[in-house]
Amino acid sequence: MFDEKVIQMIIEGIGETLYMTLLPTFLGYVIGMPLGILLTVTDKDGIRPNAAVYKVLDFISNIFRSIPFLILLILLIPLTRLIVGRSYGSNAMVVPLTIAAAPYIGRMVESSLKEVDHGVIEAAQSMGASTWTIVFKVLLTEARTSLIVNATIVTATILGYSAMAGTVGANGLGAIAVRYGYNRYQADIMIVTVVLLVVLVQILQGIGMMLSRKFDRRRT
């Protein structure tokens, strides 16, 4: 059953799953980080309230987050083809995964930044700090522990999405689980992939928690 070919397939599956998790998470942050910062800064209690900008961004990020990921993936097939050239395989999945991740990350970043004590922001303003300085030297640094914890949650969610994408043309552990467990009734291979997915999430979670503790200076 678990001959060399299967083991080889599973190892490749781990690699592709990690690829489909980490790259979209990274690209998602490239879009989601500025989005979250803008949502925080332009909110009515933010440091530069701007109702128009806030409403537009708020609306867009809500729309994308309310579409279930599998449906979004199918909806985005034409765009994926345009960017990657085809709609299946790990590279193609990066497109819908990134687009699903970005607004979600935006919201996560927003909620982390809004945890920063308003008094500290006020203190920075009273010193004559610019909006730019407050964003980079107050908001992002003061919220870093929460940002790291949320990045861990985001990564685990994207890993889940990448497994879901296994049903419609992705590779990786999710695809293996679908192919063997669902199409061929080979429960043993499916169980192995499921265990591996659990282990991956555990490792990511462990790394995230370790980093957030390492960077937290609030302990006595």
Partner: protein
């Protein structure tokens, strides 16, 4: 002499769901260089809003604020940021950057000003020496006590070399001993650096301790202002008197015309009836006469009380005394 802070006809209105809230009404005040100016009021009186209008953390709805001969409303965003560097501020909850060490907190305003890191660090150590915390330079705020955090905040303010220091309830989260030491430090800064200090507080003790001048704010109105000595000697407004006597309004002259004679019997003499009544109504009565008599071998106490001017209060007091099983008799034209 030109005042360093001039507040003219300041109004601040907040829009809330229930409608408009007038936080400040037509407040005018001059503060001169070197003053330690106390602004005192009950919570919700508008004093925190007032102090935030002095560096435009809060923009006034109407009126002018002139600081260092600059009218704040006329400044551009960039000019306002520059002007703020001359106006330091410390807060009730210290508002330190929790993820930065003590010395990096003190360096923060110098980073904003664009100083070189080495130079900033050297200066920061000097300021930490001034507040007596140089050995805590590498510690993080979470490792410090409240008083130490406020000292770091003061060092941070000194780092921007301000002309004015605004203190928003800066000692309200501290115990009395620490409060005293922080106030001493503020006085030292006022003296050594010539920094004008504005102190927002709800405690008269703070004003007495360090302020040269005081303004009393009540419901968004400036009700009285002057030197601390003047206000203490002869408070004119009701609010000033209330703050000075902290909770009690001392009655200096009894104007009430109603007097009652009460008689204690033996069994009621153990309960401090008069004392309890004064506490219950938070209004004093005047004891005009008191005596004990021996009536048929039984000791009887009698007392004549002058009741407060307020009719209804007087009636309530009579009812209270009657309720305590005393003989109460109203006297006509006793005073």
């Amino acid at each position: 002499m030109e005042p360093i802070i001039r507040i003219e006809h300041l109004d601040k209105t907040f829009q809330s769901k229930e409608g408009e809230v007038h936080a400040l009404n037509d407040v005018s005040l001059d503060i001169f260089k070197g003053d330690i100016y106390g602004i005192i009021g009950m919570s919700g009186a508008g004093k925190s809003t007032l102090v935030r209008c002095l560096n435009f953390l809060e923009r006034p709805t109407a009126g002018n604020v002139t600081v260092n001969a600059q009218e704040l409303a006329s400044l551009s965003e960039r000019e306002l940021r520059e002007a703020r560097k001359d106006i330091g501020m410390i807060f009730q909850h210290f508002n330190l950057l929790m993820q930065r060490s003590v010395i990096d907190n003190v360096c923060f305003p110098m980073e904003i000003a664009g100083l070189k890191k080495r130079e900033a660090r050297e200066k920061a150590m000097e300021y930490l020496k001034v507040v007596g915390l140089e050995e805590k330079a590498r510690a993080y705020p979470a490792q410090l006590s409240g008083g130490q955090k406020q000292r770091v905040a003061i060092a941070r303010v000194l780092a921007s070399d301000p002309k004015i220091l605004l203190c928003d309830e800066a000692t309200s989260a501290l115990d009395p001993q620490t409060t005293k030491s922080i106030l001493q430090l503020l006085r030292q800064i006022n003296r050594d650096y010539g920094i004008t200090i504005v102190v927002i507080t709800h405690e008269m003790a703070v004003v007495q301790e360090i302020c040269s001048h005081v303004a009393i704010i009540d419901h968004g109105n400036l009700v009285e202002h002057g030197t601390v000595e003047e206000i203490f000697r002869a408070p004119k407004s009701r609010e000033a008197r209330r703050l000075i006597y902290q909770g009690y309004e001392r009655v200096t002259e009894m104007k009430g015309k109603r007097c009652v004679r009460i008689v204690f019997s033996e069994n009621s003499s153990f309960e401090p009836v008069i004392g309890n009544m004064v506490l219950a109504f938070k209004t004093p009565v005047n004891i005009l006469y008191a005596n004990t008599r021996d009536l048929d071998g039984v000791a009887k106490g009698e007392m004549v009380l002058q009741l407060p001017e307020d009719e209804i209060l007087g009636d309530k007091m009579i009812a209270y005394l009657t309720g305590a099983k005393l003989a109460v008799e109203e006297l006509k034209d006793y005073v």
